[in-house]
């Protein structure tokens, strides 16, 4: 008979951002247990991870296990011994033929275990196996480790409790409601689980919580913020948005500062007016159903007022010392112990911006770019570094290209983020990232696995994105003196074109094999290869190039000699040579359809490995010349052909 399964892991509040990956991990572990089932559903709130599955059998299927015994020719004594060992008579054994002859075989019937028992055995390890970035002890040193203390477990198979104990918690049928609006112990069944929890102010489904927030926000001009929405969905069990206001006078402060305070520090959505400007309002999401008395709204308004007052205080204090006057203070700010201070970094960046082709304004922006690290506002709101510098530069009379370049120079902060809007900003951003990369790799601070404390992957990805999307014509190789760094960057280039731009991986490999120092050029070649690919001649020709490469490799051909036309055989070889002669210097697009049949015929009719060494050498020279001629846009032998 088929039964449903429910597992609820009750904990203290799990960090919101860890919950979705934890559910994925739990699902993987459950599938690994290989218990046949139908649909699986995963849900979570901050205090529970829930796995529900349908259609489990109460008992697993019976199975047979074959135990190979002695050879059929073995003495009767040995056969009797084998039979005794398995508690059967010798005549109950069967035979099996193997390549080495006939053998006695005992077929053991294995009765399928009760699914409940399998789950009782496997659930403790499955729960503790859920991957979290950081775990803790709570029962004492050497005890169980989990993301936060486990407080209850509901484990039901049909109507039965799956009996097990983990870290002093006995699995049962008692769940727990909202911390203050629900009861601490709620008896549940699989059928009434969601409803029982809802009665106790817990909405188990994240989707439902998300929709509740969205629905109740209809009519409020909230600035869309999907990341914040997800945070709030996993920070609450019964979310309810409320709108609060703040004094209009704070709108004098830069919008960036106000939004950062609301979003990062208070987890509020900001609100726009009809013209798209910031309105003196915010939306907080509570973990209770209503705020009838207005306590929560007024409390949040008071906190925000204090925060905005602080920001105003910092803004005004910072104005007392211009950015330009802060440069010397950077001598006291360490960039990285082995890489010196931010003053030194600033000077390196200024030189690099000049070298990259930046004008006076770009160099000026580089000079001021790190000065905001000494301001109170950035010390308070570190995520606003760069932005604050740009805003200060603007009010302190720096030109538009300068302040914008400072403002933008940490961009792109993610793969989705845009690159700096101006050339100057692109140069400063590039110089900053290249300096960090070269510096860190130079002193051995290389990212390993998931450890990347200096965000070097992001920096490298930024370099690629800025050069390509900014269409900067510069050669990277001169900034990649370190081989490890060159490979690290190559990986980011590959990732960018493949995963973000959608080029096929073999196209990327083929084009990069022909050079990746100039990314604008690489991009142009990628586009050409992609277009070429639709030609019916492309893949066969690519296959031929691969063949040529193999032939040259096998022959250990290193020759750079000239083709001796006197040694060419009339027919396909002569034809191919003439084709090569007439197409040299022309783009591959215009010759591919003519070249392909010539190459095919050559391989069809001509024996490269001719008995006469001189002829052989001449043929290899011809093939190598051909390969070289058409490998400037890509190494076509890297193309994966379907044929």
């Amino acid at each position: 008979m088929s039964v449903p399964f429910l597992l609820e892991i009750g904990t203290e509040e799990i960090p919101d951002w860890m919950i979705p990956p934890a559910l994925e991990s739990l699902q993987v572990l459950f599938e690994k247990a290989a218990i046949p089932h139908d649909a699986v559903r995963l849900d979570a709130t901050p205090r529970r991870l829930v796995l529900r599955a349908e259609g489990l059998s109460e008992r697993q299927k019976d199975s047979e296990e074959r135990v190979l015994g002695p050879a059929r020719s073995a003495p009767a004594q040995a056969v009797a011994g084998f039979a005794r060992k398995h508690a059967v008579r010798p005549e109950d054994l069967t035979f099996e033929s193997t390549p080495r002859g006939e053998y006695y075989v005992f077929i053991r019937k294995v009765k399928g275990r009760h699914t409940k028992d399998i789950l009782a055995d496997s659930l403790p390890a499955m729960i503790l196996g859920i991957h979290f970035p950081k775990t803790m002890y709570w029962t004492g040193k050497g005890g169980a480790q989990f993301i936060r203390p486990l407080r209850w477990i509901v484990a039901l198979l049909g109507n039965d409790i799956i009996p097990f104990e983990l870290a002093g918690v006995r699995a049962g049928a008692l769940s727990s409601g909202h911390r203050r609006l629900g009861s601490g112990e709620i008896a549940v069944t699989i059928a009434d689980y969601e409803q029982r929890l809802r009665d106790h102010y817990v909405i188990v489904s994240a989707e439902e919580r998300r929709n509740k927030i969205r629905r109740e926000l209809e009519g409020v001009r909230v600035k869309p913020d999907p990341v914040l929405l997800e945070t709030l969905v996993y920070l609450t069990e019964y979310p309810t948005p409320i709108t609060g206001g703040f004094d209009r006078q704070f709108l004098d402060l830069p919008e960036e500062v106000l939004v950062t305070v609301m979003r990062h520090h208070q987890k509020y959505f900001s609100v726009e007016d009809a013209s798209g400007r910031l309105a003196p309002e915010f939306v907080a999401v509570m973990n209770i159903p209503s705020d009838a008395e207005g306590f929560v709204r007024r409390g949040n308004e008071r906190v925000l007022r204090a925060r905005f007052n602080d920001a105003r205080f910092f803004w005004e204090t910072d104005q007392k010392k211009k950015l330009a006057d802060r440069k010397s203070d950077l001598a006291h700010v360490t960039f990285q112990a082995k890489l010196g201070t931010y003053l030194e970094k600033t000077e390196r960046m200024m030189a690099l911006v000049g070298e990259l082709g930046g004008d006076r304004q770009a160099v000026r922006a580089a000079e001021l770019s790190k000065c905001d690290l000494t301001t109170e506002l950035v010390k308070e709101f570190t995520e606003l570094q760069g932005v604050v510098g740009g805003l200060y530069a603007r009010v302190q009379g720096e030109s538009e290209p300068v302040w914008q370049a400072i403002y933008d120079h940490y961009k792109p902060e993610s793969m989705e983020d845009v690159i700096p809007r101006s050339r100057a900003g692109q140069f400063v951003a590039l110089a900053d990232k290249l300096d960090t990369l070269a510096g860190c790799f130079g002193v051995g601070l290389v990212p390993t696995g998931s450890r990347d404390p200096f965000a070097l992957r992001r920096a490298a990805q930024g370099v690629v994105k800025i050069i390509v999307e900014g269409k900067l014509d510069l050669s990277l190789s001169k900034y990649l003196t370190d081989q490890t760094l060159a490979e690290f960057l190559a990986e980011r280039i590959r990732y960018y074109f493949r995963d973000l731009r959608g080029f096929k991986y073999d196209e990327v490999n083929a084009c990069m094999a022909a050079g990746s120092s100039n990314l604008a050029d690489l991009e142009a070649r990628l586009v050409r290869v992609r277009n070429l690919r639709s030609s019916p001649d492309f893949e066969p020709l690519a296959a031929s190039f691969k063949r040529i490469r193999n032939i040259l490799e096998q022959a250990k051909f290193t020759g750079v000699g000239r083709i001796d036309t006197g040694l060419l055989e009339a027919g396909p070889e002569q034809d191919l040579y003439e084709e090569y002669q007439s197409t040299t210097g022309q783009p591959i697009e215009s010759v591919i359809s003519r070249l392909r049949p010539k190459v095919d015929r050559f391989f069809d009719k001509v024996l490269v490995n001719a008995p006469d060494a001189r002829i052989r050498q001449n043929r290899l020279t011809l093939l190598s010349a051909l390969l070289r001629e058409f490998s400037t846009i890509a190494d076509f032998s890297e193309i994966v052909t379907t044929a």
Binding site: E12, G140, P149, N300, V333
Partner: protein, 299 residues
Amino acid sequence: MESFQEIIFKLKHYWAQRGCIIQEPYDVEVGAGTMCPETFLRVLGPKPYRVAYVQPSRRPADGRYGDNPNRLYKHWQLQVILKPAPGDTIEQYLGSLEAIGINLRQHDLKFEEDNWESPTLGAWGIGWQVMLDGLEITQFTYFQQCGGMDLELVPAELTYGLERLAAFLQVRDSVYEVEWAKGFSYGDVRYLDELQYSVYNFEMADIPTLWKLFELYETEATRLLSLYDPKSTGKKRFPLVPAYDQVLKCSNLFNTLDSRGAISVTERVGVIQRVRRLAVGVAQAWVDQQQEASVEVAV
């Protein structure tokens, strides 16, 4: 409306009823209640302990001359240590909020991830900042390590920000307007203190003198630690608690020097290391000393 002191009375009473020793503030300057021996040393080793105390905590760099309504050079923490943490620690904590008159059915309470770490103490833990209507009112931590050592029993540490809590309960925009006792505001009691210490910490503290003091205390702590002998039969009477006081002095002097702008970023890491080395030294010796003591009791 509860006054500042009534809130303190009620919280102390609440935790006393739950088996906590009520201690009085430690009499050496500290940056946080965690640094008091009642937390730093007591969380070490296998003995259960429960204590609650108010600790005025000095953060020289946070001083604002009494001008800023929310930032203080010295603020009052209520520190609670439950070692080992009972399974219903959070429930008990929520009960304490209700005991001071917060109806949690009408307020928004969230536990937001915030793992606490003190490099100077070689200590860290896992936990949350507790947000009440968007205001951080408590740091809640399950200690994992202290003095660089894994803890045998995992204690829960609750650190209430008393001024914030009082401002919340009394609906005040400035902590200086909080009523401390009938007829006296927080400002009446504390304003001068805040103003004068801001002037001292930011403007007048003599840097060479502070460095000299730092080195004197450091030397004395180092000297004591070098004399501790784990094999000595009389080690129970060895003055580790006084040695720890020297470490606390160093820590406060470091913070004052820092607020005075006398410590460059490069130096900073080095000085923190020096204090940490002493703190870890005391913690390790303390664990050793306690083990010996428990054996004696067992005999």
